[in-house]
Amino acid sequence: MCIGVPAKVIEKQEYTAVVDVMGTKMNVGIIMVPEVSEGDYVIVHAGQAMSIIDEEYARLSIEEWRKLADDTNS
């Protein structure tokens, strides 16, 4: 039921947006993420964008896992 694939917002309308999911364009609802902007990535579930992906947090979290993976003491 859930597809957690990131979708890029191409064109924002009032309550919907055209998003690109791995090359496929689809129309999704954006009522739950009204602050979304064109160019943002969102997580879509059952036709609705549920959250905007925060690039900075994604980067920080990857850095944390890299550090953990390379740490020879733990």
Partner: protein, 371 residues
């Protein structure tokens, strides 16, 4: 951005993290004389763990128990029978999520009803069913709404659209489930000793990290919120075992790029506006008070349960053990039907049908593997 997100499936990073998890689990095993027991609540985690090979690779280190997180699997047999009966009526268009169509009821599935000529359509979004109703004003259009907190807001939005458009022949048959009541039931029953939870990444988008405080305050059980790619899952498992070793009981969020402390307030508001708590039947667990959400009476005109007279008898009994699997008491291999009478192409229970089901995950990725 995509390059960063791709890192969550980086094989080199995943392999290193896998070794880290194994080492840490060994420390746990030395200290406690047993493996840590971790339940993944969400069906997508069950699938992700099997598909990536993490579950198999950690077999000797961590006991990963699949929880009751897949909405198709937890839907009670009686509800399935009711939905199939609903589809038998003439002049109706039944809209459903794809996973539901093959779930067998006591007398056939929605797919069987479709091949008998009933108009049953698979939609991806509940809002699509509203558009179908607009195009077919002479037909009753009924959406079969199942799901946890991830899906319920999307159901609410479809109700909002149908209500605003004044669609008289649109309705929704709702049987939804909430995460908190079921986790409480599992923890109180203590049938399986759980050390911690891998908390559902998608549900947490809606509910936020703060919604899990009862696990810590009332049950003393820690949890980590993580995503579905190998790096996120392994990181979540590592941090959970680290907490267990430190004897720290907290909820930690490692899915911060999409999950916030307080969740999505718009989604929460939609849930409150269109739904109210109700008792729900869970497969294999019976009725759990206040464990689901039903359509509020202000929107009764959109409630298929109020609109149509559906009465189903006691469901036919099978040897399917989905109920035990959902409670973490059995693995698919314990079911006599697994892989023989019950396969993905001829499923007997929902755990084999659903794309997030435990039996389907085992069948596709772990056959011949003794867990």
């Amino acid at each position: 951005m995509i390059q960063i997100l791709d890192q969550f499936s980086n094989p080199d990073l995943s392999r290193k993290l896998l070794d880290k998890v194994k080492n840490l689990a060994e420390t746990f095993i030395e200290k406690h004389g047993r493996k840590p027991v971790i339940m993944e609540v969400c069906g997508s985690h069950t699938m992700a763990l099997a598909r990536s090979g993490i579950k198999q690779a950690l077999r000797d280190y961590v006991k990963l128990v699949s929880g009751p997180g897949c909405p198709v699997c937890v839907t009670d047999q009686k509800s399935i029978d009711a939905m199939i009966q609903l589809a038998q009526g003439d002049g109706r268009i039944i809209c459903t999520f794809g996973d539901m169509i093959r779930v067998p009821g006591s007398n056939g599935s929605l797919l069987d009803a479709k091949s008998e000529g009933k108009d049953i359509r698979v939609v991806y979004s509940p809002s699509d069913s509203v558009r179908i109703a607009e195009k077919n004003p002479d037909k009753e259009v009924i959406f079969l709404g199942i799901g946890f907190e991830t899906t319920i807001p999307s159901l609410g939005i479809a109700l909002k659209e149908a209500n605003e458009k004044g669609l008289e022949k649109y309705s929704m048959w709702v049987t939804t489930k909430l995460v908190e009541p079921i986790l409480r039931v599992l923890l109180e029953a203590q049938e399986v000793k759980l050390d911690g939870f891998l908390l559902p990444g998608h549900v947490s988008i809606v509910l936020g990290k703060h919604s899990y405080h009862y696990l810590v305050d009332e049950y003393g059980v820690p949890g980590t919120i993580c995503g579905f790619e190998p790096v996120g899952v392994l990181g979540g498992i590592y941090k959970l075992i680290a907490m267990l070793l430190d004897e720290r009981v907290e909820i930690e969020n490692y899915h911060t790029h999409v999950v916030t402390h307080s969740g999505n307030s718009f989604a929460q508001e939609i849930m409150k506006t269109y739904f109210k708590e109700c008792d729900e039947w869970w497969r294999g667990l019976g009725v759990i008070p206040n464990s689901g959400l039903d359509i509020r009476k202000e929107f009764a005109h959109l409630d298929a349960k109020k609109k149509f007279n559906v009465h189903v008898g006691e469901p036919r009994k099978t040897k399917c053990r989905c109920g035990d699997i959902l409670r973490g008491l059995a693995v698919p291999e314990d079911c006599v039907l697994y892989g023989k009478a019950c396969t993905p192409s001829k499923p007997i229970g929902p755990c084999m049908v659903s794309s997030e089901g435990t039996c389907a995950a085992h069948y596709q990725y772990m056959r011949g593997d003794i867990i």
